[in-house]
Amino acid sequence: MIRRFIEKSVEKIFAACGMITTITILLIIIFLFKEGFGLFNSPEVEKGYALCVNAANPIDYISSPDVKKIYNSVITNWSELTEYDEKIVLFRDDNKDIFDFYKEEELGDSFEEIEANIPKKVLELIANTPGMLAFVHEENLQKNIEGVKVLDKGMVNPNDFFFGREWIPTSTPAPQFGILPLILGTLWVSLVAILIATPLGIGVAIYLSELAQSKVRDILKPAIELLAGIPSVVYGFFGLVVLVPMVQKTLGLPVGETAFTASVILAIMALPTIITVAEDAIRSAPRSMREASLALGATHWQTIYKVVIPYAASGISAAVVLGIGRAIGETMVALMVTGNAAVIPTTLFAPVRTIPATIAAELGEAPGGGVHYQALFVLGCVLFLITLVISITAELISKRQHNKGL
């Protein structure tokens, strides 16, 4: 009686554990998407600020990349954007730029007086300077002011976000959120890592399961599993201090933090996963099939590549896909050895920036709830979707193997 009661409660506890885990995972995913969702309803210009021009200026809206070009002095004349021939004068309302235009005495006598006068003087300045582009506090613009035109505010555009080529999230007044270099950087590093790790991993798996003596295997297998247990920051540290200077010197590159360096380390990190899963798949080939092959006169090697490998093919593919998953999500190594330059990769031997490294490096400083913060959460969603596709692929492949096993 009591035993039945205990058994029942244990069952209930296990069921509850399962429920809690599932709900937690779901909540995390919902949270991720919820935080990122607001991005495309956020203005391109920093919240609480607006861009203003002189009323004589015919322009109504400047796209965010153009604003960035103007503030970096790439575009210097209004005629490049609209029919208005006037040199662009830049102004930021940060209580500093104003002193380039007015002397302190002109603004007021005491500190308090100056502070109170600044908003009025800023607007006066815009109205008097035909070529002005000003970045000002929105609260100073509540009423219509003669001579000042407030530009329309654009929203963050999905097209610019997913296909933009520039990731400069801290550019003021117009941050650039183009995630294409980050996505390509992540895929590039992982792809090369997996190209290095796959032949090595499968080779080791075949050796371990078919060729190695049991004594060698008893040492090698735990050693490989130990490799999986090394913290990633240690790999990153090793990469930065040993591999980076080595790559730079042997290849004669200007810089050693490259996509290639990261790929090598990620390949080492993906190896244990690939080896363990592939070895299990190869070992699961039934003894009867091997013996049948040998009985027909096939050599050991012929049996391996004509019978065992084809049998284990789907298990090996699943191993590779899981290895890719490991490489894509890796954060610490990417942060330490890729150089983190947000450029679209054209060669293996230049720095790149990956999605996980970007999130890890930038979330700390992104003002909570701001556009940058939301953009990082959308990046998280993108990463989640990529790994989801990979997991589903792995699952489908190993299902196929099960069916064949029957």
Partner: protein, 268 residues
């Protein structure tokens, strides 16, 4: 009922832990040592210090989960407004100054650079050392990550708010910048004065178009001849002034300021 319980627990906890400081990793070692010394001097007082970045600290101040936000940059307008929306005003206290040194690989021949040249290098207009009087070698510019107040400060002060070039190498910490620069011949980067050591060479900087070049040191930063100096700041809400005042007073006292110079920052 639950809510009451939670608030009691929280208020009891806040009496016990007294005060928390969160924020900039640059200020972190300073705050930690100040807190240790303060707790030694005042039995029963408790100060908890954590890092995470200036933005993290200010976010925590907005949410009311910290008493002091330590920051290596000025609070943004938007952040100040958020604190005000919650019904309190932000107070600002400068506790020390930090100078930024521009550093290159020790093998590099270049010693003097003007602000304009630095701007050209970090925005990507100057790409070879021979353009600024060095060897024919590609320039590899290292920056801190955007999460650091140092990144913002350098951008504002040296690049005059222009953006870093898109392909700049960014490193997660000052230590990794020093490591990378010491092993890359064409490298240039910027670090806090406290991190300056023999593995890298400090550039003498000119802010008057090449008339005078000043070497970064505590002395030149203090007499204001070295130009790239920034304040390290404590932010707190005026509501909690009575709680945080004794600690801040201690930091500003001679004993507290001695710790500032011991760590390698510049006293007020």
């Amino acid at each position: 009922m639950k809510k009451i319980l939670l608030t009691t627990i929280l208020s009891v906890a806040s009496i016990l832990t007294a005060q928390t400081i969160t924020g900039s990793d640059t200020v972190l070692p300073l705050s930690q040592q100040e807190a240790e010394a303060y707790m030694k001097a005042n039995k029963g007082a408790k100060v908890t210090v954590t890092g995470g970045g200036s933005g993290v600290g200010i976010s925590a101040l907005i949410d009311g989960t910290t008493d002091i936000a330590q920051s290596s940059r000025k609070i943004k307008f938007d952040e100040k407004k958020k604190v005000q929306d919650k019904g309190s005003t932000v107070k600002e206290v400068i506790i020390a100054f930090d100078a930024l040194a521009v550093v290159v690989n020790p093998k590099n021949k270049v010693t003097n650079l003007t602000r304009e040249q630095l701007e050209g290098i970090f925005t990507g207009k100057i790409t070879n050392w021979k353009e600024v009087g060095g060897d024919d070698l590609k320039i590899v510019a290292y920056s801190r990550e955007t999460s650091s107040g140092t990144y913002e400060f350098f951008k504002e002060e040296v690049l005059k708010k222009k953006d870093y070039m898109a392909g700049i190498q960014s490193m997660p910490a000052t230590g990794t910048i020093v490591q990378s620069i010491s092993q890359t011949p064409g490298a240039i980067g910027y670090i806090g004065l406290a991190y300056l050591d023999k593995k890298v060479k400090a550039i003498h900087v000119s802010y008057d178009e090449g008339k005078t070049f000043v070497e970064p040191s505590v002395k030149t930063a203090k007499d204001e001849t070295y130009p790239i100096v920034r304040p390290l700041i404590y932010y707190y809400a005026d509501k909690s002034e009575s709680i945080v005042k004794p600690f801040i007073d201690y930091v500003l006292s001679p004993a507290g300021q001695k710790i500032v110079s011991d760590i390698g920052f510049i006293t007020k």
